[in-house]
Structures are given as structure tokens and as C-alpha cells.
């Protein structure tokens, strides 16, 4: 039954993570005072990850275009490549790829930073000094990732569509014009509440939720780190593993709510 261990461990941490989310929500009023810390965290989690998102995003768009393009070419429908790449990137690939990258970079870094503070008495020092560690450490990280994830997702969607266009024009004989016409047409359905294409909007909602999940899981793993360097390593590994589980499970339910329910 050892294969169930990661899932049981993930479920076991849910109570603490919900408690942490609640603690953050009741402190949202202090966001303006924390703006410097939040912007530093946005820089660390978003700006320092941009190049990875661009690289992975462009190749993901190229892969989707190539995989679908070959099959579509067989039935003479390669002019639909733009539609498929645009919808896949906006609905699924963009938010998912961005979230996975953020889980591996920002989420693990949060767990390691806070975990190191935990095992080196820095968190105890904050407690002794009567300093609210949620306001100082957790809130800025969660807000920053909730901002960074949608921004990076827009970037990933855009570069992925461009990458798909490159493959479509160079390998599948679809002109840039035709590719982009079909891509933009696929994203014309407006969302009900906001002036954004519905698929883009849905993807950004997912990205926002993923950002929250990754940061809450990363911070809670760090706060619970015990036992020196070994404990920090364990917390980091747990943060990445649990984030990916949470991204996949929540992704299914959000997709179901947005497109099926």
C-alpha cells in the first residue's frame, strides 16, 4: 500500500492548509502595508521564472501543433491547427504548465525558505517577539503567487500559440495568416463577467487557484519542517509532490465546473 502514501500524506495536510488559508483571509486587510514584501515575492516567483515559462511554453505549443497537425493533415483539416493549439493552450496547457513550473520553483523555494527559518529558530524568534508570522511571511507569498500565476499563464498561452504557428507554417504548410485567423476565431467567445475570451478567462481562473494552492502547500510544508537540513529537504519534496497532486485534482473539478456543469 506504499503507493497510497503520497495521497494519504496529501489528505493529512489538508486541515492545516485550510486553517492557514483561513488565517490569511482574515488578514487580507493588511495587504496594502505589505506591498513591498509582496512585490519582492512577485519578482522572485514570476520574474525569475519567466525564461522557463517561455521556453517550456513555446515547445509545448510546438508539440501540440505537431501532434495534432500530423493527424489533421491526413484528413485535410490542417487549417484547424490554430484552433486546437489556441484552445488547448488557453484552457489547459498554459495554466497547467505554468503551475507545474511554479510548483517546482516558487513552491519548493517557499517550503525551503520557511522550513529553514523553522529549523533555525527564526520562526520561534518571531513568536517570541510577538510578530505575526502569517502577515510577515505567509500573506505576501500567497498574494504574490496568486498574482504571478495568471500573469505567467498569459505569457505561456501567447508564446505557446506562437510556437504552434511556427510549426504549422514551417512543417505543415499552413500559412501564418490562416493559423492566426483560426486561433483568434477560436478565442472569440466572450466570458460573461469580464471582457476576455471565455477560454482565456477560464484558464486564468485556474491559474489563480493553482497559485493559491501552490503557495499554501509550500508555506505549510515549510512551517511544519522539523529536524534540520533533512527536515527542510523533506518539506521541499512534500511541497512539490502535494502541489502537483492538488493541481491535477483541482484542474479536473474546475474543468468540469466550467465546461460540463
Amino acid at each position: 500500500m506504499s503507493f497510497l502514501r503520497p495521497i494519504l500524506s496529501f489528505a493529512g495536510g489538508l486541515g492545516f492548509q485550510l486553517e492557514l488559508l483561513g488565517a490569511v483571509l482574515i488578514r487580507v486587510g493588511s495587504i496594502p502595508k505589505r506591498w513591498t514584501l509582496i512585490s519582492e515575492q512577485v519578482f522572485q516567483s514570476a520574474v525569475q521564472t519567466v525564461h522557463v515559462v517561455l521556453l517550456v511554453g513555446i515547445f509545448m505549443g510546438m508539440i501540440v501543433a505537431l501532434q495534432t497537425g500530423i493527424e489533421l493533415a491526413r484528413i485535410g483539416q490542417q487549417d484547424q491547427i490554430g484552433t486546437i493549439v489556441a484552445v488547448s493552450m488557453a484552457r489547459e496547457m498554459g495554466p497547467f504548465i505554468t503551475a507545474t513550473i511554479l510548483a517546482a520553483t516558487a513552491g519548493s523555494s517557499m517550503a525551503a525558505e520557511i522550513g529553514t527559518m523553522s529549523v533555525s529558530d527564526e520562526l520561534s524568534a518571531l513568536e517570541v517577539l510577538s510578530i505575526d508570522r502569517i502577515k510577515l511571511l505567509i500573506l505576501p507569498r500567497i498574494v504574490a503567487l496568486a498574482i504571478a500565476a495568471p500573469l505567467l499563464t498569459i505569457l505561456c498561452d501567447t508564446i505557446g500559440i506562437i510556437g504552434g504557428g511556427f510549426v504549422a507554417s514551417s512543417q505543415l504548410n499552413v500559412s501564418w495568416q490562416l493559423y492566426f485567423d483560426s486561433a483568434t476565431e477560436a478565442l472569440t467567445d466572450q466570458a460573461a463577467l469580464i471582457a476576455l475570451p471565455k477560454d482565456v478567462y477560464g484558464g486564468l481562473v485556474k491559474a489563480f487557484v493553482f497559485g493559491l494552492l501552490i503557495s499554501i502547500i509550500g508555506c505549510s510544508a515549510g512551517l511544519n519542517a522539523r529536524g534540520g537540513a533533512l527536515g527542510v529537504g523533506r518539506a521541499t519534496r512534500q511541497a512539490v509532490r502535494d502541489s502537483i497532486i492538488a493541481i491535477i485534482i483541482s484542474n479536473y473539478f474546475m474543468t468540469w465546473l466550467m465546461y460540463q456543469a
Binding site: E122, A125, E127, V128, L129, S130, I131, D132
Partner: protein
Amino acid sequence: MDEVVIRLRDVHKRFGTNEVLRGLSFDVKRGKTLAIMGPSGTGKSVALRHIIGLLKPDSGSVEVEGREVTKLSKKELSSLRKRMGFLFQEGALINWLSVGDNIALPLRENTDMKESEIMERVQKRLELVRIPDSAKKMPSEISGGMKKRVGLARALITDPEIVLYDEPNAGLDPEISRSINELIRDVQRELHVTSIVVEHRIPCIRTVADEVLFLEEGRALVQVPPDEFFSSTLPRLVQFLGPDPVARANALDQ
């Protein structure tokens, strides 16, 4: 001046199967400094963490200023902690904040003081701990001894009435250790605080302590003034401090 500020009574604490405190009791009077000494693993640091409310005893009582620490609400505990300072073994500085920002943190987070007043106070504390030009340095750029000084400056920034030192000399060479001891003594003299110092080193105890508590297997063996402690003929103390009276006398002179 004989009012008891810190009182522990029959405190027991167990971590898993390891019972660290086994009925620890002692008092600290206002304005006095108690040094806690004893073999490793007898619960000296654990006792300190009970006083500041970082740990809760399995049984027994921990009173600070006449209030039972274990029964305080979060808000009450936070308010009590604002009147206390704690120096951690390694200083426990926040790594991503500069020395000045570390010291200023409690004032920035918990008060409405103006930035100019905060910085003025930070500078005074840096001067008190004899590192006046270090405000802009990062914790990674300073030595272990300086980290302890910064930790002490941070612990003193809110003008606490009680200061707890967890092995202030651990890992320091004799010269820096001597200067830290003098610093602790100066803090006592200038700020008239009540202190507990967990310490192994005899010179430190000789410099700072009004009383010495010897902890043995989680209990207080004796609590006496330093001269009486170092001249004791109790077999356990003789065994701990060294059997050779000449060596003990030399130790006293260090």
C-alpha cells in the same frame, strides 16, 4: 526588591519517551540574574522555552509576573512577551533582513512609532551592544559573536523587564565570550532587568550571576550564590566542576 518575578513549580516535560524535566522548581527575584548550569540534556533550554511560552509543561506551573503562562490567551501571552527578551543560541536573525531591520522589526510590526524614532532607537541599541556601524550589514556577512550581539540588541529593543539568554557563549572563543559576558552585565546594570542565563562556562557565571541553579536529570539540585556554588563540597558538584580544588580555584580566577 525581593519580589519573585519568575516561578516554576514541579514542572514536568516529556518528548516522546524522553522525560526532560522531572519536577523542576525555582524562583527568580526582580532585578536578579539566575544562571542555570548542568550537564547537556538536563533541560536547561527547555526550561527557558517554558518561561517564554514556546513550550507547555505536561504538568506543573510556570508563573511570570504572578501570571500562569500556560493559562494565558494568545493575546495575553503576546502582551507578556513584549515585556520579555530572548536571546537564542545562534541569534536566530531573520536572514533576509539587514541587521538594522532585524532589530527594528518588533517596533515596525507592533508599534506606530515613526521610522526616524525607530532608527534612532536601533542605533542606541547597536551602540549598547558595541557594534554601532553594523545596521546595513546582512546576517550572512557577520560573525557568530556579532550575530549574538544583534540578537541581544533585538531582544532589548522593546525595553524588556526580563531577558532570557540561551547559551550566549556557545561556539565563541574566550575573548569574544568575555566581551559577551561584560555586555550581559552592562545590560543588567543599565536596564535593571531580571535575567536567566543558561550557561556552561564558569567565567560567564562568575561575571553575570547573582545565583546559580544546578540542574540534574530535570530537577534543581541546588540554587545558591556563585561563591557558595563554586566552593560547594556536594559530591555531584565536585564531580561536575572537577575534583581538583586547585583547578577549580583557577577556574574561578579566569
